[in-house]
């Protein structure tokens, strides 16, 4: 039972890391659909550096750096050049998938040092919880968090009050990239210590869905990540028990779950409107 619990916690960790980053991004009203691509870049950067140098701190730094680099591209395009956020985010994911496959071609089927475990637990598992707690506290209890939320809800007013809307959005987007990169490194250095093309396998999209599922509230993000971790894991677990459900259907469960949850949530429009950053996805023109 404890082993099962630990397996679910581990499966939830990459979702939680990436979703925490995206939560902050969306709270300043920026929608970055490039999570999957940033996670893949983090995964290959971390794996490649771990393999080449043997140093895990360097590998983690590289993964975070790769995620941030990709998010910086997004920030420049959407915040400075005012490109459409949805299209740019999608392009980011497509680019990340292709580029990681290209860079990773030479790293398939080899091994690299893996993140050590403490007392049988990946240190990243509790770390993800700590980061989420800090982010929750930051958003709810600090002045800076208040400014961040104000920008998400009414960027013109925040601008008039003298807050640097664009600069703060840049920082939030970079934080989102760093977290996605870290989540990718967790996949390739701890969860499955290998590099394989497309190894994130849709977890970036699940993380994005989680942010909406949680209605932009950190506590619900945790519930959602555990729930999806459980579904992902149970889809394999129940097969070994011998539950007569076709394995193809079980494989589709986590994704079906995502769709069902989103449909259920969007039925309650009031709840969405109440928590949704009002400016989500809208560009900001300082002059206007």
């Amino acid at each position: 039972m404890i082993a099962l619990l630990l397996s679910v916690l581990a499966a939830a960790t990459p979702l939680l890391l990436a979703a925490t980053g995206e939560l902050v991004v969306e709270r300043v009203a920026v929608l970055n659909l490039g999570v999957e691509g940033m996670m893949l870049m983090g995964a290959i950067a971390g794996f490649a550096v771990a393999h080449e140098t043997g140093s895990l701190p360097l590998a983690l730094a590289a993964a975070i750096g790769a995620g941030m680099a990709l998010s910086l591209v997004f920030a420049v395009l959407t915040l400075t050049l005012q490109a459409n956020q949805t299209a740019t985010g999608l392009a980011l994911t497509i680019f990340g998938r292709g580029f990681s496959a290209l860079v990773g071609a030479g790293y398939v089927g080899i091994s690299a040092p893996t993140l050590p475990k403490l007392l049988g637990i990946d240190p990243m598992v509790p770390l993800a919880l700590v980061i989420l707690a800090v982010v929750a506290w930051f958003l709810a209890r600090t002045h800076a968090g208040l400014i961040l939320r104000a920008i998400g809800d009414q960027h013109d007013a925040a601008h008039v009050l003298g807050y640097k809307v664009i600069r703060i959005r840049y920082l939030a987007v970079l934080f989102g990239g760093a977290m996605a990169g870290l989540a990718g490194a967790y996949m390739s250095l701890a969860y499955t210590p290998l590099w394989a093309q497309d190894m994130i396998a849709g977890r970036g999209w699940v993380a994005l869905a989680l942010v909406t599922f949680a209605a932009w509230r950190p506590f619900w993000l945790l519930v959602g990540a555990w729930l999806f971790g459980l579904i992902m894991y149970l889809s394999l677990y129940v097969q070994a028990i011998g539950v007569p459900i076709p394995s193809a259907l079980l494989s589709a469960l986590p994704y079906l779950g995502t769709v069902i949850v989103l449909v259920l949530i969007s039925r309650d429009g009031r709840r969405i409107r109440l928590h949704r950053p009002a400016m989500l996805g809208r560009p900001f023109h300082p002059a206007g």
């Binding site: 082993a3 099962l4 397996s7 499966a11 292709g98 496959a101 290209l102 071609a105 030479g106 790293y107 398939v108 089927g109 080899i110 091994s111 475990k117 996949m187 969860y191 499955t192 210590p193 290998l194 394989a196 093309q197 190894m199 396998a201 992902m232 894991y233 394999l236 677990y237 097969q239 070994a240 028990i241 011998g242 007569p244 459900i245 076709p246 394995s247 193809a248 494989s251």
Partner: protein, 355 residues
Amino acid sequence: MQRRTFSKLLGASAALSALPAAGADPLKVGFIYVGPVGDFGWSYEHDQARKAAQAKFGAAIQTSFVESVAEGPDCEKVMADMANAGHKMIFTTSFGYMNYTQKLAKRFPTVMFEHATGYKREANLATYNIRFYQGRYIQGVIAGHLSKAGLAGYVGSVPVPEVVQGLNAFMLGMRSVNPKARLKFILINNWYDPPKEGDAAKALMDQGCDIITQHTDSPAPLQAAAGRGIKAFGQATDMTRFAPTTQLTASVDNWGPYYIKRIDEMLKGTWKSTDTWGGLDSGMLTMAPFANMPADVLAAAEKAKADITSGKNKVFTGPILDQTGATKLAAGATMDDGALNAMQWLAQGIEGKLT
């Protein structure tokens, strides 16, 4: 990516054929792989065999390959491209390519096709396979000795006969040592998906399996077992370096001798459509060194290997009962290849359903 690799190779072969050839133009031989050549499993071994053939025949042949080709309409395009580019012999190396290969064989009657692990043949379409189940039986014997719980876990891909044979052979081998042994399995619906393969191994271990084997192509299940200090088997190739103190052995595919023989026949003009199913005796199947086990288990493994190689042990010999306890094969009888290739039942002791 795959297309780019392909055009690069075509470009390279075009450049080569532009050089003045010593004699006739080299025979162009194409290979299509389901995974990346760097999977260090299934596709890797096919590519090793391709390289062996290229080294053997030198300038007489020119080989090229396309990797990570999905088992769907894409593979048909890749085959057609190869045929149009002048390949006279095309090896399609995954079960799911079967219907597409057959279609293409009819469309290109002057191109000789070779399809691995399938059963549909034409005048210009041969099939070849390895008796993987022989290696599974030996793994089962080892598991029967080593599993304290009498419960092994099997990470599988899709419920095709080849995978079902492996499940049953493993169970028969395990029960030959421990008649109460059981086997749990998970099919992940893919041949290569490391995170999911690892998750499946974890789920099996969480349910008490204390030995793991896999019929998927990455070392992830082996690594997951190593992470919990549980012994496991590698797949398709010797995966020792991913888990040196974990791997007990691995059934290693050795396609080289077959590719060399068939290409040789093609060059001599004696190629015919045949059905080849080689096992330990033919050298197409070999076992990675038996490791991480006590001497008595090693002796039992060596004996099982010797008996299968000599033909004394045919693996699927009666009596065999299925999951429901019904007799599948009477005492003394041996299952023929037709029945093996249509296998869709599970032996007694295996838990779960084929779906």
